[in-house]
């Protein structure tokens, strides 16, 4: 009797803490982590109410709700329920009193987000709540105050909280995507937000620019450029105040930063054929990592920095190999097909994405990093799909595709579902690289 009462009070205590702090417990089993995208969680976002009902407020209410919806939809975890009757909110009330969870669950909704917007002078106040309509609980309650210009960041902060609640990981909202575009007539590096918003030009090499690579703290980008008449690797801080040059004789290409260090691996051909070396960010060679006939290039690091996958033609065709840095041992990973390149190690450590040519088409494959299981093909009959890059939480893959004619940047889940175009600019966009989380 006493024990069961203690248990009950403990349970109540825990729930109380959960409600007030808005933190989710592992009790809530929302996501099937083996394939979280197989069954999308039905979510609804009711219209945000404008507290003082001013025109500005209504405008901001609509904009912010739309941004929230798009951003959460981007993750591919949710299927958005757009039921006009349900989503048209109360309009005037500051906080929804006594939410009628039943009416939501009757439409299949399991997660609900409500919000209200208040504008005071030049600042905006956003109150956002996440509810589990099935269990009739509030999972998150947040209040943000910021300038109107900054509301995008705040919405993304809330999205991050939502994803953390649901999956235990912070998601992709504080990340960017670097990519190449020929908008000026020549390949240059551009950087956009994770959802393709606001692409900004990063390089002005006025020459052939290739292979952007983010350092693991997101503060540096290394890339190859012909700006000085030879393919050299440029290392630039994101604020462009610092730069270093790696310009050995020959081809300097495919830089890849070591996780957690100001160090990178790159392919240099000064010894007579392309080999992979470990260098400091300033361009000093620390170690030679490959020693084989023919080309070695395209290094990519395991998230713990102990292993490096790379492309080698040592066996006669380009294939992917993995080298254990400490032991020095190298083993071949891919055995299917005659052309496997562009390996990218997932931040989760368990998989490697790459592109393979088969029957004259390039497609994206994923293979487990231990090489135990056959690779899985993610793109089919849709032009050439190449250059995969993982989101920082390993849930999404950005890549380039010519399915629509010109090469464009696309995003899909780690399982190949929900393939959609990220952005469109004049010219062709290629070689996307997802940044770490900022």
């Amino acid at each position: 009797m006493l024990i069961s009462r203690i248990k009950k009070s403990l349970f109540v205590l825990i729930v109380f803490i959960a409600a007030s702090s808005g933190r989710c417990l592992g009790d809530y089993d929302y996501i099937d982590i083996t394939n979280p995208f197989l069954r999308k969680i039905p979510m609804a976002i009711s219209s945000f109410s404008a507290v003082n009902r001013g025109n500005d407020e209504v405008d901001q209410a609509v904009k912010n709700r739309e941004l929230l919806r798009k951003s959460l939809e981007f993750t591919s975890y949710f299927s958005m329920i757009h039921n006009k009757i349900l989503t048209s909110g109360n309009g005037s009330k500051a906080a929804p009193p006594g939410l009628n969870f039943k009416k939501w669950t009757a439409s299949g909704v399991e997660l609900l987000i409500t919000g209200n917007v208040e504008i005071i002078d030049k600042s905006i106040k956003l109150k956002l709540r996440l509810y589990d309509t099935v269990n009739k609980k509030m999972l998150l309650g947040k209040s943000y105050k910021t300038t109107i210009n900054n509301s995008r960041k705040v919405i993304h902060r809330f999205c991050s909280e939502v994803i953390y609640c649901i999956t235990g990981s912070r998601g992709v909202f504080y990340s960017k995507i670097a990519f190449l575009s020929t908008s000026t007539g020549k390949k240059e590096i551009y950087i956009s937000d994770f959802d393709g918003y606001n692409p900004k030009r990063f390089t002005y090499s006025n020459s052939i620019t290739l292979f952007p690579a983010w350092s693991s703290d997101g503060k540096w980008i290394a890339y190859t450029s012909f700006a000085k008449g030879n393919p050299d690797i440029f290392v630039k801080s994101l604020d462009k105040r610092q730069s270093y040059l790696i310009n050995f004789k020959g081809t300097n290409s495919t830089p890849a930063w070591v996780p957690g260090k100001f160090e990178l691996a790159a392919s240099l051909s000064y010894s007579g054929d392309p080999e992979i070396y470990l260098l400091t960010g300033t361009g000093k060679i620390n170690k030679r990592l490959t020693r084989s006939r023919d080309s070695d290039l395209s290094p990519t690091w395991s998230p713990d920095g102990t292993k490096m996958a790379f492309v080698s033609k040592r066996a006669g065709t380009p294939q992917i190999y993995i080298k254990n840095i400490a032991s020095g041992k190298t083993a071949r990973l891919t055995f299917m097909g005659k052309y496997n390149t562009q390996p990218e190690w997932s931040p989760k450590g368990d998989k490697i994405a790459y592109s393979a040519i088969e029957n004259g088409e390039i497609n994206i494959y994923v293979i487990d990093s231990a090489g135990k299981y056959p690779p899985v093909r993610l793109t089919h009959s849709a032009g050439n799909n190449e250059s995969p890059s993982w989101s920082p939480d390993g849930s999404l893959i950005v890549f380039s595709s010519t399915r629509g004619g010109a090469s464009r940047i696309y995003v899909m889940t780690a399982f190949g579902t929900d393939q959609r175009q990220l952005l469109s600019m004049p010219g062709e966009q290629t070689n996307p690289k997802w940044s770490p989380r900022f």
Binding site: L210, N230, T251, S253, D273, S295, L297, T341, I362
Partner: protein, 195 residues
Amino acid sequence: MKKNLWVRLALCFVLAGFLFTVSCAKKPMAAPDQPSQEELAAEKAAAEKVAAEKAKLEEMAKQKAIEEEQLRQEEAERDKLAAIEEFINNDINFAFDCSALTSESQFVLKQKAEWLEANTDASVTIEGHCDERGTNEYNLALGDRRAQSAKAFLVELGVGESRLNTISYGEERPTDNGHNEQAWTKNRRAHLIIE
């Protein structure tokens, strides 16, 4: 009696006279007679004419020689330019995903080595290129292999290594922007430029 003597003497003189006139015919014409002023002038003009014509002929011959020399030089220059053009335009082609030299490529490289032997001042950059198929990273490395392959062969043929530079452009600088076998074949090349 005395009359006969005088007749005989006169006859002797006439005979001598005849003798002299016969032998006179062999002597140069100017000698016995003093030429007149007109004859002098005419002769001078004739001589000058001959000299002028001779000079003209000499001049023409000289001109002809100069022109011939010019033509020879122009031809040599054209040949030189043609050789340079051939040197630059004749690319070395490769099979897909391959940096090995075909026998045709080796022949082309031999011609280039000959030119380099004849033009010892020249330095050359060997560019390595690929067709658009495949991925950019791998193609940049493959272009590098192709350039190195051509360079190694030239060095083997005796060209000084210090005269040969290499650069890879991967698939970034196609010479034919088509999307067919013909374009791809053209683009898989090593291309030499004279520095």
